[in-house]
């Protein structure tokens, strides 16, 4: 793509600099504006009675005592919302065959997971609402539950939605080349493993929260929420609460972390909006930590049977696997819970030159909390399958794991091309990234040290991953399947009379620094000091229409729209300046808040803007100045813009306690143009930490009858600073040709890649002891079992 080429080299370009974030002071000084900070007149507080059982018939809910409790204004049950909320179904047409049942915000007749909301109490305070919720007499009849995804398809398993006849939600098969023939070759070695990935969840610092206001005089709903996709929610509330779309305003102000948790339709949040509409009073719902564990979407939950055939030279000849994933009792609305399995099928083996590839994915219903898209959707599974087996095979044929990657990685000069699963790939740098990684970590010295320590009974391991990350998605991701999820985003840039820029964008900020990079791009491309830029995001009433934040698209798509808008405004301003200065626009530029030419500053932007806004009489009457510009951008030629990376983990396993210490972690990442190196590094580091969490610590532990056993921060182990290694981040920059900015996403690589690297490192440490482990998280107990010590 061609465009304004010089924007990256200007004096105040900002792009490429670690400019401090504008919102840091505000947040650190306690001036954040989170949902729970909102206090409205006549506001009620909601608390939910949630199902204590994984599966139960609802015989009756006696709410009389609750209604009579102090401070209570209303108690709503599923039946009360019938006719108020149109049920929703989480399917997409491009995921052929995917089925899910209609869902209501509060369960009707049957509860299908522990934590499903059954009734809602609205009271003067949250404490009073909770007191009253405890007074609801729920006549529940527990019925057999299908909790374990691995047995949910058995013929005798309880069927969660009887109308479907089985618990299968979706199935897909990818079959490329001749897999059977490849495995049958007599010159190949085969490794096969069963990999298990536990459930974990996002654990956002700010829990999910909503304040809904309804104004009956205008039939207008305002929904303040802690979330990622305001326009999507606007559509959903309009459709399911029977409101005109323009009468729904969704506002996401400061958001304390999302990780994909806050991009779905949650019953408690829909009920909050419905209650505000029914009562004509503002309603606040803030999930407490216990509710978060029970109801925020969970992630992963896969069992994969996988095998790989390699020849003597270490070339991967075929990869074959069967992935089974449990998604809870419904497919989440509107993104569906089949995307993760779809990604696993699409992404596995994508870094490698692979001809014979077969993958089956099955998505099953079960009586557990719902599973859906969480940071790095499907990636950790896909990377662990291929890179796990690759290192396993390397051990089997006695080849170094780096060497084996060098044999198999797609060549950097081989793009554009496609992966075995048919993904279009361009501008990737696997070979270069691996080279930078090996050099950065001092690979040979580490191997030597490893051998020396092994002789002394110290078990260290080194593990790698070469990975791709799906970023900057086109409409092929969701829009094509009928979901109200925009893949395009817009940006508006306005020059104000004081010479400052007011910009707005449809991508959103949840702590990752989107607003900061939007300001950098606007300031740099247009030509003002960054302090003069004010950014607005997250308000459907004011920002352009767009998709919000997901799939690492904020910088690549939202950023490009901002670049285009800032560039357009610059041309508009220079046109006016050329008239006012009686010179040729081509000789003018904007720098540091002034219009300049070869001889220096000619006029400040505020002089220009004030003339336009206040003293139009000084301008020729045929000049029609526009000091505002809006541009939209979407990816067109590719379904996704892939990034790549290479990472390595260095661990030490205590073979007596089963504890794993991550000693070092290195990540080499190619996210195209780096707009703010510090922000990208922190995205990578945060992602790696989350990946280490999935590999070693985090797991939603369920009892056999579907009770979540560790729904507290003491028992659900998030990775903490003391246990984390230094994470060294390096960049290879291969800008994408799909945009002028050239930025791809960087938000999910760490989470997607780190688990495979850690798993490989642990297995590298264990292998001399004759043990391997293919289950995440790799807990001390599982490691000791693998070692045969327990």
């Amino acid at each position: 793509m061609t465009g304004p080429a010089l924007i990256f080299d200007k004096p105040n370009a900002y792009i490429g600099q670690s400019t401090p974030r504008a919102d840091t002071n505000r947040l650190l000084e306690g001036r954040g504006r989170f949902v729970d900070d909102i206090q409205l007149p006549r506001m009620l507080h909601a608390a939910f009675l949630r199902s204590p059982y994984a599966h139960a018939e609802i015989r009756g809910l006696d709410t009389s005592a609750a209604k009579a409790a102090p401070g209570v204004v209303r108690v709503l049950t599923g039946a009360d919302l019938e006719g108020v909320v149109e049920p929703y179904v989480g399917v997409l047409t491009h995921l052929k065959g995917l089925r899910s049942a209609p869902q209501m915000p509060l369960a009707v007749d049957r509860a299908r997971w522990q934590g499903e909301p059954l009734a809602m109490v609205l009271a003067r305070s949250r404490a009073e609402a909770e007191d009253a919720a405890a007074l609801i007499e729920a006549d529940l009849d527990p019925i057999p539950a299908a909790c374990d995804a691995e047995t949910a398809l058995d013929p005798d398993a309880p069927v969660i939605h009887p109308e479907f006849g089985s618990n299968l939600a979706w199935e897909r098969l990818v079959d490329v080349g001749d897999v059977d023939a490849a495995f049958a070759r007599d010159d190949v070695q085969v490794v096969s493993r069963t990999l298990r990935f536990g459930r974990h969840t996002g654990v956002t610092l700010e829990t999910r929260a909503a304040v809904a206001e309804y104004d009956p005089s205008e039939d207008r709903l305002t929904f303040h929420y802690s979330g990622q996709a305001p326009h999507m929610m606007q559509f959903i509330f309009a459709k399911h609460l029977g409101l005109a779309e323009e009468n729904v305003r969704v506002v996401a102000n400061d958001v304390g972390g999302s990780f994909g948790i806050k991009i779905h339709t949650y019953g408690d949040e829909v009920a909050t909006a419905a209650a505000a509409k029914l009562l004509g009073r503002p309603v606040k719902f803030v999930a407490d930590r216990y509710e978060s564990f029970l109801s925020d979407i969970h992630a992963r939950d896969h069992v994969v049977e996988a095998r790989m055939a390699v020849d003597k030279a270490g070339k991967i000849v075929a990869l074959d696997f069967d992935d089974l994933t449990g998604i809870g009792p419904y497919s989440m609305y509107p993104r569906t819970s089949a995307i993760e399995a779809n990604q696993v099928l699409n992404l596995t083996g994508a870094p490698y030159d692979l001809e014979n590839y077969r993958a089956r994915g099955r998505v099953v219903f079960q009586n557990k909390n719902m599973m859906c898209q969480y940071r790095a959707v499907g990636h950790p599974i896909a990377m662990a399958i291929c890179d796990g087996l690759l290192e396993d095979a390397a051990a089997k044929i006695g080849m170094d794991v780096v060497e084996m990657r060098r044999v198999n990685l797609m060549r950097d000069d081989s793009y554009p091309r496609a992966s075995a699963s048919g993904m279009k790939l361009d501008d990737l740098s696997h070979q270069k990234a691996l080279n930078v990684l090996v050099e950065t970590m001092g690979y040979d010295a580490l191997r030597a040290e490893q051998a020396e320590l092994r002789a002394r009974g110290v078990y260290r391991g080194i593990g790698f991953v070469s990975m791709v990350e799906v970023t900057n998605p086109s409409p092929m991701f969701y829009g094509i399947g009928g979901a109200p999820i925009a893949s395009q985003d817009g940006a508006t840039v306005r020059l104000d009379a004081g010479g400052g820029l007011r910009v707005s964008s449809s991508v959103t900020e949840q702590g990752q620094g989107t607003n900061a990079i939007l300001a950098q791009i606007a300031a740099g491309v247009f030509g003002v000091p960054i302090e003069r830029v004010t950014v607005t995001t997250g308000d459907t009433d004011t920002v352009p229409y767009g998709g919000g934040t997901w799939a690492s698209r904020g910088a690549g798509i939202g950023g490009e729209a901002m670049l285009q808008a800032a560039h357009a405004l610059k041309e508009q301003v220079l046109e006016v300046a050329a008239v006012m200065l009686q010179s040729d626009a081509a000789t003018l530029d904007i720098q540091n808040g002034s219009v300049v030419d070869g001889s220096g500053a000619r006029m400040t932007l505020s002089d220009l803007a004030r003339t336009v806004y206040y003293r139009g009489n000084e301008l020729p009457s045929d000049l029609k100045p526009e000091l505002i510009a809006t541009r939209h951008y979407r990816v067109t030629d590719f379904p996704f813009v892939f990034t790549n990376g290479a990472m390595a983990a260095h661990v030490e396993v205590d073979t007596e306690t089963g504890l794993v210490k991550v000693l070092n972690f290195w990540a080499v990442e190619d996210c195209g143009r780096v707009i703010n190196p510090k922000l990208v590094d922190e995205q990578v580091r945060g992602g790696v930490v989350q990946g280490i969490g999935g590999a070693l610590y985090e797991e939603c532990i369920y009892s056999e009858d579907g009770q979540l056993m560790n729904a507290t921060m003491a028992d659900y182990l998030v990775p903490m600073a003391v246990e984390m290694p230094d994470i060294v981040v390096r960049h290879v920059e291969t800008p994408t040709k799909t945009s002028v900015l050239g930025a791809k996403g960087a938000g999910e690589a760490g989470t997607g890649g780190a688990p495979a690297a850690v798993m490989n490192a642990v297995n590298d440490a264990l292998r001399p002891l004759g043990a391997t482990l293919w289950q995440m998280p790799m807990t001390p107990e599982r490691i000791l079992k693998a070692l045969g010590k327990v």
Partner: protein, 273 residues
């Protein structure tokens, strides 16, 4: 996550506190609140009356007499950690940094830890290993119980419902005394997956495990083995079969059994060093 309704009292003296504890209904003492408040917020605990001990001056403080250190029940972990007396309580000094995180140690109290009797807590096991004495008081009078008799089951102690833990007596370390402590935890500050505290004095050896059973437990058979022959560690580890191992989220009884051996081996190395 809001507690159920409760009444709240903040007595200024021990007598007032004991009178309140003797009242009608379900009554709970509030010490550091680091365990009680979460339990109340989860509504696992729903006391009708909360007797806040934080203003009762008689319950805090450390005194020393005739080789015995008396620590008031309301003494916070972090106050103890900074106290000179720790020089005479080397085992306590070893254990304290493993109790939760600094912010929790700033509020949490020794008395709270003993009264709660969490099987995974460090200090109850340390109390066992040191042969501590727990002082109790109620409106009926005062009494003291040996740590060996105090811990009776999962969150169960010899304390009667209307009694308060007032203090704990610990023997000051002698010059000949050696001690060992080891625990393994998933993350720094977590409750241990398994741990052991032990002391070796002229008059004997005491080994106390935590986070392996439903309560802190002595390993008496292992004590006998090692007292007779300090080199018979393998035999002592075999003798740990005497313990009634119970699992938790970190692992089943087998895992606890295995880790008990590991921590004993590591703590014993400290003793011998």
């Amino acid at each position: 996550m809001k507690p159920a309704d409760f009444r709240y009292a903040r007595p200024a003296t021990l007598d007032e506190a004991l009178t309140l504890m003797a009242g009608e209904g379900e009554i709970a003492a509030l010490a550091g609140g680091q365990s009680l408040m979460p339990m109340m917020n989860f509504r696992i605990a729903q006391p009708e009356v909360l007797v806040d001990l934080n203003a009762v001056a008689d319950l805090a403080g450390v005194t020393e007499m005739d080789g015995t250190v008396r620590i008031g029940a309301m003494t916070r972990y972090s106050d103890l950690a900074r106290h000179d007396v720790l020089a005479r309580l080397p085992l306590v000094a070893r254990a304290l940094p493993h109790v939760a995180h600094p912010s929790i140690r700033n509020r949490g109290t020794l008395g709270g830890s003993l009264a709660l009797a969490d099987p995974a807590a460090e200090l109850p096991a340390v109390a066992l290993a040191l042969g501590a004495k727990v002082h109790l008081a109620s409106t009926h009078g005062t009494r003291s119980v040996a740590a060996d008799d105090f811990f009776q089951g999962l969150y169960e102690t010899d304390r009667a419902e209307d009694e308060l833990v007032t203090a704990i007596d610990l023997p000051a370390a002698t010059a000949q005394e050696t001690y060992g402590f080891h625990e393994v935890a998933r993350r720094h500050g977590d409750y241990a997956m398994a741990g052991v505290a032990l002391t070796r004095r002229d008059d004997g050896l005491r080994i106390a495990f935590f986070s392996v059973s439903d309560r802190p437990v002595r390993a008496k058979a292992a004590e006998t083995v090692l007292r007779d022959d300090p080199t018979k560690l393998d035999l002592a580890i075999e003798a740990l079969d005497e313990i009634d191992f119970t699992g938790d989220l970190n692992g089943g009884p087998d895992m606890k059994r295995h880790l008990a051996g590991v921590v004993l081996r590591r703590a014993w190395a400290e003793v011998l060093a």
